[in-house]
């Protein structure tokens, strides 16, 4: 029996690695035919923040001893500039110039998927453990793949991820930073988590809200349905009042252990965060010292993100909104849209504090929906993370509808863009309508997944209380 199961797991492993290799090969094939695809100039793939072409321009400006932020071309990090900049110029002879960069992005993607897989496995183990401690072995062993594997494969084979990777946008690297933070927090590698969070915040600002799930992860561990434990403890206490005292003590110990929010790793995380931020700022300061200094960097990176200066079309809704809105309302709506992200942080954290990874997923989805320059690279990440919760979210409503509309939107949006920009026969409103549909889709996804997760918890509670009742009677 045991042999069989190890064999099966080995088979699963083998299948997983074949799919990973296949995805790498697929990417390499696509990279080899860049001109046919022309993905790098698609608005869905390269936003002003993630476009590699702009990075090359920034690098060129820097090489000709000008500030990379002179002009409003480059808005990325100076560290990314010194990392990827030389690769945009260097070329292996007879090969297209973007080859090296593409290889970097492929590597980042693979690393991302491995991190997603490792985190997913940790999550699964923690989930099983907590279920077992509640005597709820509802998840059978007949799973085809573990959630980690599913998430990794979803990430690797998602067309959005492939487009973002082959389309030369820097979003795989931003995703890598986010994944490092989540992985580090899950595995309780405090310095790694701090590094990941600082880098992610530095690169794209929005992951700053991930500090809440990371702290919860470090403090509570990946999966702690604490309410259930409390319920169980009360039940057990009541139940065990008559039985021997030794067992009672054990239970109380367990519940105490679970109850305690461990402050030590959180404090360590904060210390490491400060250290890493100082380090990153120092590095940035060194690389922009002879130009405009750090202030110029902040205004052209974060100021550009927050004030939505570039109105070129993307898959979000803000560009068209700010192209049309009256100038005197502009500041008001800027505040409104950014507040929309911030307003939901605390309600979500209160309701989902026992599932920090799911909380991180929800945050990432919300920010990639409401961020000023969204791209498909952001959606690629949250789709991957969705894979972690396939079993919890199996009863999610509208999932087929969501799938179909996603396909529909991702097919219609390029068509509408082509009609508007290239043929001149369409109208901006058609393209904006697809962007609207995409935003609505993401809203439905967030709302339904949160609701499904809460229902799942409810079900667990019901099951555990029913078991208690059964035990009592």
């Amino acid at each position: 029996m045991e042999e069989q199961s190890t064999k099966r797991t080995k088979q699963k492993q083998g299948r997983f690695w074949t799919w990973v290799t296949a995805s790498v090969l697929f990417r390499l094939i696509l990279i080899y035919f860049p001109q046919n695809l022309n993905l790098s100039s698609r608005p869905e793939v390269s936003t002003p923040l993630t476009s590699l072409r702009r990075l090359a321009e920034g690098y060129w400006l820097k090489q000709s001893s000008m500030s990379p932020y002179a002009g409003s071309m480059y808005h990325g990090s100076p560290l990314l500039l010194s990392l990827l900049g030389p690769l945009t110029v260097k070329r292996i002879d007879e090969q297209p110039s973007h080859l090296l960069c593409s290889l970097v992005f492929v590597a980042a993607d693979i690393l991302n998927s491995l991190l997603i897989r490792a985190t997913g496995q940790t999550l699964q183990i923690a989930y099983r453990q907590s279920l077992r401690s509640l005597d709820l072995d509802m998840i059978s062993e007949m799973e085809i793949l573990s959630p980690g594997d599913i998430a990794a494969l979803i990430y690797l084979w998602n067309p959005f991820t492939i487009a973002a990777c082959v389309g030369l946008s820097t979003s795989p690297i931003e995703n890598l930073a986010i994944m490092l933070a989540l992985y580090g927090a899950c595995k309780r590698l405090v310095p790694l988590a701090a590094f990941g969070w600082v880098m992610a915040t530095h690169l794209s600002l929005y992951p700053i809200i991930l500090i809440i799930p990371i702290i919860l992860l470090l403090g509570n561990g990946p999966d702690t349905p604490r309410k259930l434990f409390l319920l169980r403890r009360h039940g057990k206490v009541e139940e065990n009042s008559s039985s021997d005292s030794c067992q009672q003590e054990k239970v109380i110990d367990q519940s105490k252990l679970l109850d305690v929010f461990s402050w030590r790793p959180v404090m360590l995380f904060l210390v490491w965060t400060v250290m890493w931020s100082v380090y990153v700022l120092l590095l940035c300061g060194v690389s922009v010292k002879q130009y405009g200094g750090l202030w110029e960097m902040f205004t052209s990176m974060y100021g550009f993100i927050l004030t939505v200066q570039d109105l070129s079309p993307n898959i979000g809704v803000l560009w068209y909104f700010f192209a049309e809105v009256f100038d005197f309302f502009r500041n008001f709506f800027l505040i409104v849209f950014h507040m929309n992200i911030l307003f939901m942080i605390f309600p979500l954290a209160i309701r989902l504090h026992h599932r920090p990874c799911f909380l991180a997923f929800v945050y990432i989805t919300i920010s990639s929906m409401l961020k000023s320059y969204p791209s498909v690279g952001d959606s690629a990440l949250y789709f991957g993370l969705l894979g972690w919760f396939v079993y919890e979210l199996s009863e999610m409503k509208f999932s087929f509808f969501l799938f179909c509309v996603y396909i529909g939107v991702s097919l219609l949006s390029p068509v509408m863009h082509n009609l508007w920009i290239w043929r001149g026969t369409g109208n901006a409103n058609f393209y904006f309508a697809t962007a609207m549909a995409y935003a609505c889709l993401q809203i439905v996804l967030v709302v339904e997944s949160v609701s499904a997760m809460l229902n799942h918890d409810r079900k667990l509670r019901k099951l555990s209380s029913a078991k208690l009742q059964d035990g009592k009677s």
């Binding site: 060129w60 002179a70 570039d310 700010f322 049309e324 508007w420 609207m436 709302v447 809460l454």
Partner: protein, 668 residues
């Protein structure tokens, strides 16, 4: 009526005589301190059966320190401009049409200094500290805008003007350059320009400016150039010099039926001032120091005529160069020239050009001046072209991105240059490019590609010097200054730059947004080549203004075409829809997520429970009341809810009333 005129005529004449000596004496005094004014007209037949008419008016005022602030001839508006904004040098041009560098010449003083880009071009050098230059520029644009009835004030915005370093003129730092390619030029701009002349268009050469015939032409460019040494120590410069030129290219309608010749070339159209402008010059402007009309024959035209004469074996007795001859085998001039000037041989020139000078002092209303040229033999010649033929165009389709390409083709001049200079070994052809690109054309400077003879070249091999200031969104345009060095044997070269098209806010689109946006002309200059024509040997001070202008050593310069870039437009009609729909989606997100988060199991039960318990506000009030009265909380809670609620209501009313009374007492 006629009688009245007859009676009046002596009076007019008398006044004319009376006035004459004054101006004469002023001119004769010859001292640089006096103000003077001169009017000149240059006419030149062009190879493509057109005629170039170039009016040149020059006024000069001495230093205000020596002569006070009052002017006799010099326009006060201009001198105030100079005083107020500390303008050292300024040039403003209004142009309609495009100068044809191939047919009308690209290597002579007129084309290099009077061929201007379409629309308005303005540059100015200020004599103020660096940080005040921008302010002076903005004030100047507004002043000029009022002065010339044009929208020059659009150049005030920092997105439209630039500060070239070395690409346009050597004066760096305090130079500002801006152009408005879309500006329509018409009579309302010409009238204020004419107002600056002392005789306006009532007398003198400016009477020829019959509006319909000027604006009917293929090209007209009205220019105003100001040079002042006002802020330098006295005696260094010559005060303020105002140069007003109007350059017109018109097509003379042939008066006679053209006889068919066996030659392929047709007879050039004959013209006269009346046939072109519909007017004659009846008198000179009495205030002018000199009023002269020149007829210029191009160097190559002269060479062609020479060879024709040799062919036809015509005796050299009626040579057109000899003085006082108004007719020869090839053409006939209706008025006998006062002087014939021959260009002193330049170094690279093949044949000298010839100037016929006509002074119009001696003409009056009874015998007005009407110059005419009648061709007898068909002649074909070509003007001297610039070293490289320049053109600029857009590449790509769609409204997302594109590329700007500047192509340079060698003309026969470069071949000559090649023959003369190959002996020297390393022969390089220098080209300077100055290009201003509006911010919504987001140029990727790293995509600069250079092709020589249609083969890609390493940028560093060709680009000698480059200065780029990239565009900042809604703040400043992109400026590119480049010095290129090409090998002399080059047949063609091209420079391409890729760009992305920006997307603007709906308020930033002009009323006709779908027409597209204009990219101003690029300026291509050839620092190795200079145009200067010398007609007189002596450096006498009373040389005519045009001739001294011709002698100036200015670099050959060419403007490229204005590019029209179509930009994508949003829907202008429905900002409200966009705002409301987006806000609805936001509300949908916020509301539904919050709803999901606060929904609980067994909600109904808890709601029922809640109804039984008093609300938190009420509880708070109870506690407050208990504290105040000192009674225990249980006692208050146990009292009937109706009485407690009424008492709390009462308390609230009393509180409000108290605040109102306090307010009344304190502020009322």
């Amino acid at each position: 009526m006629a009688l009245l005129f007859l009676l009046l005529r002596p009076v007019l004449l008398l006044s004319l005589f009376h006035f004459g000596p004054i101006s004469q004496s002023q001119a004769a005094s010859g001292s640089p301190a006096g103000e003077d004014f001169s009017e000149e007209l240059l006419l030149r037949p062009l190879p493509d059966r057109k005629l170039l008419a170039h009016f040149h008016f020059q006024s000069r005022a001495p230093h205000t320190s020596s002569d006070g602030r009052h002017h006799h001839l010099f326009p006060k508006a201009i001198s105030q401009l100079v005083q107020k904004f500390h303008v050292k040098e300024m040039e403003l041009s209004f142009t309609q049409g495009r100068w044809n560098y191939d047919q009308w010449g690209g290597f002579d003083p007129i084309s290099s200094s009077n061929a201007k880009p379409p629309g308005v071009e303005l540059w100015a050098v200020f004599d103020v500290p660096h940080e005040q230059v921008d302010d002076s520029w903005k004030n100047l644009t507004h002043a000029l805008s009022g002065l010339f009835c044009a929208s020059i004030n659009f150049l005030e915005s920092s997105t439209t003007y630039s500060a070239p370093d070395w690409g346009y003129r050597p004066d760096s730092g305090s130079l500002r350059y801006g152009s408005l390619p879309r500006e329509a030029v018409c009579t309302e701009n010409l009238t204020p320009w004419l107002k600056l002349l002392p005789c306006r268009d009532k007398a003198g050469l400016s009477t020829l400016m019959h509006r319909p015939s000027i604006y009917k032409g293929y090209y007209h460019s009205q220019r105003l150039r100001l040079t002042s040494s006002e802020f330098e120590p006295e005696g260094v410069g010559s005060g303020i010099v105002l140069e007003q030129t109007l350059t017109v290219v018109v097509q003379p309608s042939s008066q006679r039926t053209v006889r068919s010749y066996s030659h392929e070339t047709k007879l050039q159209p004959s013209w006269s001032l009346t046939s072109i402008f519909g007017r004659k010059v009846s008198s000179r402007c009495v205030l002018a120091k000199s009023s002269i009309v020149y007829l210029q024959l191009d160097g190559s035209l002269v060479a062609e005529l020479d060879s024709l004469q040799k062919e036809n074996k015509i005796s050299s007795a009626d040579n057109y160069v000899s003085e006082g001859v108004r007719s020869n085998a090839c053409f006939e001039v209706s008025v006998k020239p006062d002087r014939v000037l021959k260009e002193l041989k330049g170094v690279e020139k093949k044949s000298p050009s010839v100037l016929y000078e006509f002074s119009i002092d001696k003409y009056n209303e009874s015998g007005p001046f009407d110059l005419g040229l009648t061709w007898k033999v068909p002649v074909a010649w070509s003007c001297q072209k610039a070293p490289l033929h320049v053109s600029r165009f857009l590449m790509g389709s769609g409204n997302e991105r594109g590329a700007i390409a500047i192509s340079l083709r060698s003309t026969e001049l470069t071949d000559e240059l090649l023959h003369t200079k190959t002996s020297e070994g390393t022969c390089k052809l220098e080209v300077k490019i100055f290009q201003v690109v509006p911010w919504y054309i987001k140029v990727y400077f790293h995509t600069l590609q250079v092709f020589v003879n249609e083969e890609p070249q390493a940028v560093s091999d060709v680009v000698e010097k480059m200065r780029v200031s990239p565009s900042v969104d809604k703040l400043s345009p992109g400026v590119m200054e480049m010095l290129l060095k090409f090998p002399c044997g080059m047949k063609s070269a091209a420079i391409t730059l890729e760009f992305d098209k920006g997307f603007l806010h709906i308020d930033e689109y002009p009323p006709d947004a779908n027409q597209g946006f204009d990219i101003p002309s690029a300026i291509i200059s050839f620092p190795n080549f200079h145009t200067s024509m010398q007609f007189l040997k002596d450096d006498s001070s009373d040389k005519s203004a045009i001739l001294s202008k011709f002698e100036e050593n200015s670099a050959v310069l060419a403007y490229t075409e204005v590019l029209l870039v179509p930009l994508t437009t949003p829907d202008f009609s429905m900002p409200y829809n966009v705002i409301t729909i987006t806000c609805t989606v936001c509300a949908l997100y916020f509301g539904s997520l919050l709803n999901v988060l606060r929904r609980r199991v067994g909600e109904e039960e808890r709601l029922e429970n809640k109804e039984k318990q008093p609300g938190w506000l009420r509880q708070l009030l109870f506690r407050l009341y208990a504290k105040i009265t000192g009674r225990p909380l249980e006692a208050v809670g146990s009292t009937s809810t109706s009485s407690s609620s009424s008492s709390s209501k009462l308390g609230f009313i009393i509180l409000v009333a108290g605040i109102a009374v306090f307010w009344q007492v304190y502020y009322g």
